[in-house]
């Protein structure tokens, strides 16, 4: 399905993917009573931040992520990723890692789990990171 005015958008695939992500987060809540926040789970798996989540659970979730993406690659097909340059990937990774710890979450914890719960902190965090993300892409475009 095409979205009028946005020939490159994939609204149906996007929504279906979003529903799967929502189900993933709902499963964590239903099964273990926890938030599916990737940055917090990654920090726990690598013993960077403390959490009552068992380390084995954190690793099981992290290992599941690439397996799930690969399953889509084998079935529906996965878009070929278009990356930024190596130095940008490296610098962005460091900033994202520092920022997620400082801001207590990322797109999954704040943007999906917190926003859907109407958490004041998550609403503010999500609006903030979308705003600085938009500003960053704008400035990079202007400099290019």
């Amino acid at each position: 399905m095409m979205l009028p005015g946005f020939p490159d958008a994939a609204p149906l695939e996007g929504f279906a993917g979003g529903v799967l992500i929502g189900l993933a987060a709902a499963l964590m809540l239903l099964g273990l009573g926890r938030i599916a926040g990737v940055s917090g789970i990654a920090g726990r798996a690598f013993a960077i931040n403390s959490s009552s989540l068992p380390k084995s659970s954190a690793w099981a979730f992290l290992v599941g992520l690439p397996v799930g993406a690969l399953l889509i690659g084998f079935s529906a097909g996965i878009e070929r990723p278009e990356f930024a340059s190596w130095p940008v990937i490296l610098a962005a990774g460091i900033i994202v890692g520092f920022g997620t710890r400082m801001g207590s979450g990322c797109t999954s914890g704040h943007g999906v789990c917190g926003l859907s719960r109407l958490s004041q902190r998550s609403i503010v965090a999500t609006l903030t990171f979308i705003a600085t993300g938009v500003a960053t892409v704008f400035v990079m475009g202007a400099l290019a």
Binding site: D8, A10, P11, E13, G14, F15, A16, G17, G18, I21, G22, A24, A25, A26, M28, G31, L32, G33, R34, A36, A42, F46, L53, P54, S56, S57, A60, F61, L62, G64, P66, G68, I72, I78, E79, P81, F83, A84, I89, A92, G93, I95, V96, G97, G99, T100, R101, M102, C106, T107, S116, R117, Q120, R121, V124, T128, T132, G133, V134, V137
Partner: protein
């Protein structure tokens, strides 16, 4: 295998599948969403809409249970205070997100699809998290 492995493993697989299906494993799509003053790609809004819709329903019912299926209680964030730390952290996160079009979920999800780029991003991500811990000692 116990539920404390199977539940997060199934959740991680669903999560990774959702990211890939929704195009979020392609950094160009994420940067396209943030490019509101240029060639805007609204796909990420549909991804977030679908995920938030399902979770909004989940939040209505699941926390009313006496306890989760495989745990003795819920372990959920209860803070509601808006701090400079939260704002600056989220702001920094957005800058990195816009620079590379990657956040932690997709970074891990593409480990088997684009291992070289994913490994560099994940290593940098973890380094940034360690830096925060060193800087703020927590």
């Amino acid at each position: 295998m116990s539920a404390r492995i199977l539940v997060p493993a199934a959740s991680g697989i669903l999560f990774g599948a959702g990211l890939a299906l929704g195009g979020m494993t392609n950094p160009a799509r994420v940067r396209g969403f943030l490019d509101v003053f240029g060639d805007w790609d609204p796909t990420l809004a549909f991804v977030m809409g679908g995920a938030v819709l399902v979770m909004a329903i989940a939040w209505r019912f699941i926390p009313k249970m006496a306890h989760p299926l495989f745990a003795s209680g819920f372990s959920l964030p209860e803070r509601s205070d808006l701090t400079p730390h939260l704002l600056i952290g989220a702001g920094l996160f957005g800058i990195g997100w816009g620079l590379a079009g990657l956040c932690p979920g997709p970074g891990f999800a593409i480990l088997l699809v684009a291992p070289a780029e994913a490994l560099v991003f994940v290593a940098a991500l973890l380094s940034g998290m360690v830096l925060h811990r060193v800087a703020f000692d927590r």
